[in-house]
């Protein structure tokens, strides 16, 4: 019983809250679902919540404000649900201290994958990326800004990354010069275990190389380690 992570789902829309709570429960989570921020505060005080799934647009106190409250009072990770796709909302959400965001309408399976990734990070001896807006990683002429989820080169040119690529790069830069196996990377970035012929990580690595390596055919930044793993061969400065 205590094995099962306890999620707090905050959404004012009953038509989303109820089926989503049921779906999450079916997939191995304990779920407490509430319809407004005030009740959410009560539940946060009364239970040991592992992760909060939070709708931004709510009557009364909105999700961003509640997110800030959660961030100020503890380490509980937050995933935002947003109906708006505007870039600014996304960045504001991440700057408020949210760990991730999902655009409505979202695939419930995708949501579960994200939840698992974040719980995995949080479970890795406190390696959870807290207060992401303050984190930037500088390496080999690149800056990875966790707050905005952007990769910028020394000329200020930003390089778009998919969520998977971002997670992968974040995993590499937060553990520089460590060898990470495919299984570890899959576990950290996608919260799942590898099946025998899984090429997902290798594909993403090669895409990343195309974006960050000066010559992607002779990579010297993201190196392949013989025996099945990858490492970031660079000094990383946290800013």
């Amino acid at each position: 019983m205590s094995d099962r992570p306890h999620l707090l789902l905050v959404d004012d829309e009953r038509s989303i809250r109820e089926p989503l709570a049921a779906y999450l429960q079916k997939n191995g989570f304990r779920v407490t679902a509430v319809g407004d921020a005030a009740t959410a505060r009560l539940r946060l005080a009364g239970y040991a919540i592992d992760l909060v799934v939070l709708d931004i647009m709510m009557p009364g106190e909105d999700g961003l404000s509640l997110c800030r409250h959660i961030r100020e009072s503890g380490e509980i990770p937050v995933i935002l649900l947003t109906a708006r796709s505007e870039e600014t909302d996304r960045i504001v959400g991440l700057e408020m201290g949210a760990d991730d965001y999902v655009l409505k309408p979202f695939s419930p399976r995708e949501l579960i994958a994200r939840i698992k990734v974040i719980l995995r990070r949080a479970g890795n001896g406190g390696a959870r990326l807290r207060a992401p807006e303050s984190e930037s990683y500088a390496f080999a002429g690149w800056v990875l800004k966790a707050g905005e989820r952007t990769l910028v080169d020394s000329d200020g040119v930003s390089v778009p990354l998919s969520t998977g690529e971002y997670n992968l790069l974040l995993a590499l830069v937060s553990r520089p010069n460590q060898v990470l196996s495919r299984d570890q990377l899959l576990d950290i970035t996608q919260g799942r275990e590898a099946n025998p012929f899984d090429r997902a990580i290798d594909n993403q690595i090669s895409r990343l190389r195309r974006k960050v390596e000066p010559d992607h055919r002779n990579p010297n930044l993201i190196k392949t380690v013989w025996g099945g793993g990858y490492t970031l061969a660079a000094d990383v400065t946290r800013m």
Partner: protein, 460 residues
């Protein structure tokens, strides 16, 4: 000629006012000038005619009394220029001065000096032979004949008895050439003072008007335009204030539109999200995937509508972006769904764009290529002052005469609005609007080797 006038006629307000004031001043000065000359002539008449008539009366009386014309005493001037002979010195070719003759008749009558006839005329110096005894004058005239010949003389002749004329010859004051110069200078001073005042006041009106014109022309969105400072005369101020008020109201309307679109987006996405979550509970996996795809399609259409409506006030800032990485992203998403989409190798290319919008535009173009052409090949070419993103397919292409119409919102090649081929026809309209918003353009063309090529041109 008319064309030349048209070309010279100033087009702007200050030029036209300056020209009109100039012309009006010229006409007024012309009339003034005429009046002044007339007044001067009258003055001259009185100044010259009165002593001449007095001398004539004196000469007639002397003649009647038999006193010789050469007086031993008295002012020397009085006897100068008096000739008594059998004919009038006034000849037919001299311009008559009937006004002076009339004055002389009246004056002589008042003085009770009897005369039969009086004639008066003006003559050039060359036409006047003065009596021989005026030596000094003769000497002077020899030295400077020019002077004598050009000076105007007045001749007044009175017939005292039949066949006996007393002629009086006197100089008229020569016209002062400086008089004209003064008049000209005076006109010019007036001109400059009035023109300076007019131009200053016109500029006071024209400057705020020019600023207002600039603000109206530059009006793209309410927040990027600035308030025009209210200056100039009160009516211009009122116009500027009215414009500023309108700008504020437009900003209000746009805000309201944004709030409304936000509400629509939220209100439609929430039920879609609910459907999506419920769909996950379905047992039939194939049916579930189809439903998820439909929901995704609806969501994309909603996104397109909202993007198109909001394009005027983009919330995303322009950033320098690695275009190759952005295209790779789009192509990867399509490949992940099992579509035949490829990206040609290219050198790293950076562009200054709003990445979310350009991603949407490229995605729509690739989506069209996949839907109607079965596959898509994305490549980048250097173009004049920028880059061109090329999206090629191997489909049937579009008839040349239908290409323009494809950019209309909700336009699709086949008239049936079947969802079989998907799409609402917004995709291309949005892609084009995004291109224009970036200062670029979007064209469609049939490739000679078959298939369609969409070219998204972006300034570098």
């Amino acid at each position: 000629m008319v064309k030349l006038l048209e070309r010279l006629w100033p087009k702007n307000m200050s030029g036209q006012i300056a020209l009109l004031v100039g012309i009006a001043l010229l006409v007024a000065q012309g009339i003034n000038f005429g009046l002044l000359v007339r007044a001067r002539d009258r003055q001259e008449l009185i100044q010259v005619a009165a002593p001449a008539i007095a001398r004539l009366a004196d000469a007639i009386e002397r003649d009647a009394a038999g006193t010789p014309m050469i007086r031993e005493r008295g002012p020397w001037l009085l006897r100068r220029g008096v000739v008594v002979e059998g004919k009038s010195r006034v000849t037919g070719d001299m311009p008559r001065r009937e006004d002076i003759a009339e004055r002389a008749r009246v004056a002589l009558h008042d003085l009770r000096v009897p005369v039969l006839r009086v004639e008066a005329a003006q003559a050039a110096g060359s036409a006047v032979r003065l009596p021989g005894h005026d030596r000094i004058a003769q000497l002077r005239d020899t030295i400077d004949p020019e002077r004598r010949n050009n000076r105007p003389y007045l001749i007044v002749a009175a017939e005292v008895s039949p066949g006996r004329w007393v002629n009086l010859i006197t100089r008229l004051p020569s016209r002062d050439p400086r008089f004209l110069g003064w008049l000209f200078l005076q006109t010019m001073i007036l001109y400059f003072v009035v023109l300076a005042a007019v131009l200053w006041s016109v500029r006071r009106v024209a400057r705020p008007l020019r600023e207002l014109t600039g603000a109206v022309e530059g009006f793209r969105s309410a927040e990027s335009s600035t308030l025009v400072p209210e200056s100039g005369p009160s009516d211009v101020r009122r116009l500027v204030a009215a414009y500023n008020g309108m700008r504020t109201r437009i900003a209000g309307l746009l805000d309201e539109k944004d709030r409304m679109l936000g509400a629509i987006g939220h209100d439609l996405r929430t039920p879609l999200a609910s459907l999506r979550v419920r769909a996950e509970g379905m047992e039939d996996e194939a049916e579930r995937d189809r439903m998820a795809a439909t929901i995704e399609e609806m969501n994309r259409t909603l996104d397109d509508i909202l993007s198109l409506a909001r394009l005027g006030r983009p919330s995303e800032p322009e950033t320098r972006v690695d275009l190759s990485a952005l295209l790779d992203q789009v192509v990867d998403d399509f490949q992940a769904l099992g579509n035949t989409v490829s990206l040609a190798d290219m050198p790293r290319t950076t562009v200054t764009i709003r990445p979310t919008l350009i991603t949407r535009a490229v995605r729509n173009l690739v989506d069209n290529a996949v839907k109607y052409g079965g596959s898509a090949e994305v490549s980048v070419a250097k173009a004049e002052k920028g880059v061109a993103v090329l999206i090629d397919d191997n489909g049937p292409g579009i008839p040349e005469d239908k290409i323009e119409a494809m950019f209309e919102p909700f336009a699709r090649l086949e008239q049936s609005r079947s969802r079989e081929t998907g799409g609402t026809g917004l995709g291309l309209a949005l892609a084009k609007a995004i291109a224009l918003q970036h200062g670029g353009r979007l064209t469609l063309a049939n490739r000679p080797e078959g298939g369609l090529r969409a070219t998204l041109w972006l300034p570098g």
